[in-house]
């Protein structure tokens, strides 16, 4: 490594040829992340390795923990210390994290979890691609809650969505998962890192009351259903718990308190779907055959749309960038016009089932074009399966 004397900036403005794993790490730093707690796991380890090098350069800390249970707990702790915080893992590690992701939901703790997906279940295919954790990202922790998950399909988008993920986490006080996959994580592409001034950074709301004047109510939500966040050391004597609690943050163990908090935790996300849900449309205006896909699969799907168009088949692509909350409304509209919807994904139909739910009672039939992990679709394979149903 070469030496230079000037201070190293927290955002490396410039053009690079690099991997998705490094891009998501740099995007996190650009978003203002100052803490990473993690545990090595293929195929995500490069995220941790890069953060280990970079965080001390920007005044942050990297700690490698004894396991993923500790990693995510430390991320929540650091967030309550006032630092933007994240971790990165893959399926087995994410499985270990889900309990504390639930704690993050209940305590309303901004944080980001990168899941570079591999094939599962269990140890599965450590070095090969999968998209089998999409439902886990939604339902992995016990109880009812709403959560945000984003899925990049390019190295550039790994960087861009890392910034979005931190901003959503801060704005909505919720853990946000970046659902990458082994291929996106390891492939190299062009990455453009903008100037610092061009990066939009959002921060959690601060309380408006002065600390120590009256009893602070850490879970008194504003009209937008999001409570301002008093972190440790500010003098608010803030209190938080994974137990069902009231506006004071005190445990209240009964059905009405439970209903109140679960509704608010869900609605603060659901009522802001327009802000959170992002998708990309490709040749959809006149499309009769719509492909829905995300992550690496969406690139093969786009190739299949082009092949189909060359053959005169009116195909188009809806690429989900936000996986959770789910783009029900957009898909419902699509299903009113299209003849057939095909969902292209590397799992046994996890998003296909979601699309079938959203498209229920509409005109279009919904089929999955599925792989079970270990390899990505080719456009020709997708087209062949489409043609069988056309």
């Amino acid at each position: 490594m070469s030496k230079k004397t000037e201070e190293i900036p927290d955002i490396l403005t410039g053009e690079y040829f690099t991997t998705g794993n490094l891009a998501v790490a740099e995007g996190s730093l650009a978003a203002g992340c100052k803490y990473f707690g993690g545990y090595p796991i293929t195929p995500s380890s490069e995220v941790a390795e890069h953060m280990a090098e970079r965080l001390p350069q920007v005044g942050g800390h990297f700690v490698q923990f004894e396991d993923e249970l500790a990693s995510i707990a430390s991320v929540l702790g650091a967030s309550w210390g006032g630092w933007k915080s994240c971790t990165a893992t893959s399926g087995p590690g994410y499985s270990l994290m889900v309990e504390n992701i639930g704690l993050g939901v209940m305590m309303e703790t901004p944080c980001v979890i990168v899941n570079v997906q591999r094939g599962g279940p269990s140890t599965g295919l450590p070095t090969l691609v999968g998209q089998q954790d999409v439902q886990q990202a939604r339902w992995g922790s016990h109880g009812d809650y709403e959560i945000i998950a984003l899925s990049p399909n390019s190295v550039q988008e790994c960087f861009d969505l890392a910034i979005d993920a931190f901003n959503y986490a801060e704005k909505y006080r919720v853990p946000v998962t970046i659902l990458m996959d082994e291929t996106i994580g390891h492939m190299s592409e062009r990455l453009v890192i903008p100037k610092r001034s061009q990066v939009k950074r959002l921060n959690r709301k601060k309380p408006s009351d002065k600390p120590g004047q009256q009893i602070h109510l850490p879970y008194e939500a504003d009209k937008d259903l999001i409570p301002p966040m008093a972190v440790a050391g500010e003098g608010y004597r803030t209190i938080t718990t994974g137990l069902t609690h009231d506006a004071r943050g005190y445990p209240v163990i009964n059905a009405s308190a439970q209903k109140k908090i679960v509704k608010r935790l869900c609605n603060k996300i659901l009522l802001n779907k327009n802000d959170i849900i992002k998708f990309e449309e490709y040749l959809l205006e006149d499309a009769e055959y719509v492909l829905i896909s995300f992550g690496i699969s969406s690139r093969a799907a786009k190739g299949a749309v082009n092949l189909a168009r060359n053959k005169g088949i009116k195909a188009g692509l809806l690429r989900l960038i936000t996986i959770w909350p789910f783009a029900d409304e957009a898909i419902q509209e699509m299903a009113k016009k299209a003849k057939v919807i095909f969902v292209v994904e590397i799992n046994n139909g996890q998003i296909t089932r979601e699309v079938q739910r959203a498209a229920a009672k509409q005109k279009a039939d919904v089929y999955g074009i599925l792989k079970l992990g270990g390899s990505i679709h080719t456009p020709a394979e997708i087209l062949k399966e489409m043609e069988e149903k056309i």
């Binding site: 030496k3 690099t18 740099e26 210390g81 209190i239 005190y250």
Partner: protein, 289 residues
């Protein structure tokens, strides 16, 4: 600031001088009568006052269990986390501000069983955390199941024939993993406990204090120790004070001696010291992408 409040409160006949250190409206607590947790919490507050640490810089973290409820009663920044994960949560919280004093108050099941891996690693990395671990020899909150601190022959709901497994010796465990301050007291040793709490709070690095607590409800009544006082009396009769002894010699067995004292007090760079050292080292390394 807190001190002033408590002084003014002494004038109020209805109030307790430590009221301002307890969260308004949270008392009565959920602990059983005869339980040691109330008096241990009092000692924690007194030690915090005596340490003169700015209350603003104090954060209390606990996991799940009877002891774990302490965080919610204390009027500092307080965090009631998941079962076993108080220590890593506390590490993340602590390293964001070198002036922060993070105190973990939790039980033996939380810290040494489900959270055991985090205990050994927090000690290994000399994280700047003070742990007050209340050992009541079993799982109280869930109704008295056997635990990793139960002695051989101890009767609990899941050891109906008597426990068959060796218990952990917590001071020895913490010390052998690198804790730089280690002591043990019974809930009866209020004066020594407080002195040790103050030392632990002012110690730089990982300080671990085990407090043997009386749990009449789910431990005592299954083991011929009917009430809290009987358990404390039993502790008293068995206690031997031995500062500086190798904690390996302080294993607790049924009816055997209970060795208490300060076993370890050494200075080593802490996790935060070492992390801050990295900032200087990383400064001139050009990032590669």
């Amino acid at each position: 600031m807190i001190k002033k409040e408590s002084n003014s409160m002494i004038l109020d006949a209805e109030a307790h001088p430590l009221d301002s250190y307890l969260r308004p409206g949270r008392i009565p607590h959920i602990w059983c009568s005869g339980c040691s947790l109330g008096s241990i919490t009092t000692v924690v507050i007194e030690a915090i006052i005596e340490s003169e640490i700015d209350p603003k810089n104090i954060a209390i973290v606990s996991g799940i269990g009877c002891t774990g409820r302490a965080a919610g009663y204390l009027n500092f920044d307080s965090f009631h986390t998941t079962h076993g994960r108080a220590l890593p949560f506390a590490i993340g919280l602590g390293i964001t501000d070198p002036n922060r004093k993070v105190i973990v108050i939790s039980g033996d099941g939380d810290i040494a069983s489900i959270g055991g891996n985090h205990l050994i690693h927090a000690a290994r990395r000399n994280a700047d955390i003070t742990v007050f671990c209340v050992n009541n020899f079993q799982y109280g909150m869930t109704g008295g199941q056997v635990g990793p601190t139960s002695y051989i022959g101890q009767y609990q709901t899941t050891s109906p024939y008597g426990n068959i497994e060796e218990p952990f010796n917590l001071p020895a465990l913490a010390a052998s993993c690198g804790a730089t301050y280690v002591s043990r007291w019974t809930a009866l040793d209020v004066r020594r406990m407080k002195e040790s709490f103050v030392e632990a709070l002012l110690h730089k690095g990982f300080s671990f204090v085990e407090i043997l607590g009386a749990c009449p409800t789910t431990y005592g009544r299954r083991n011929q120790l009917r009430d809290g006082l009987t358990i404390l009396e039993n502790f008293k009769n068995r206690t031997i004070l031995q500062h500086g002894i190798d904690p390996m010699k302080a294993q607790i067995q049924k009816d055997g001696p209970i060795i208490v004292g300060k076993f370890v007090e050494i200075q080593k760079p802490t996790l935060t010291d070492n992390l801050l050292r990295l900032h200087k080292m990383a400064k001139n390394v050009k990032p590669e992408l």
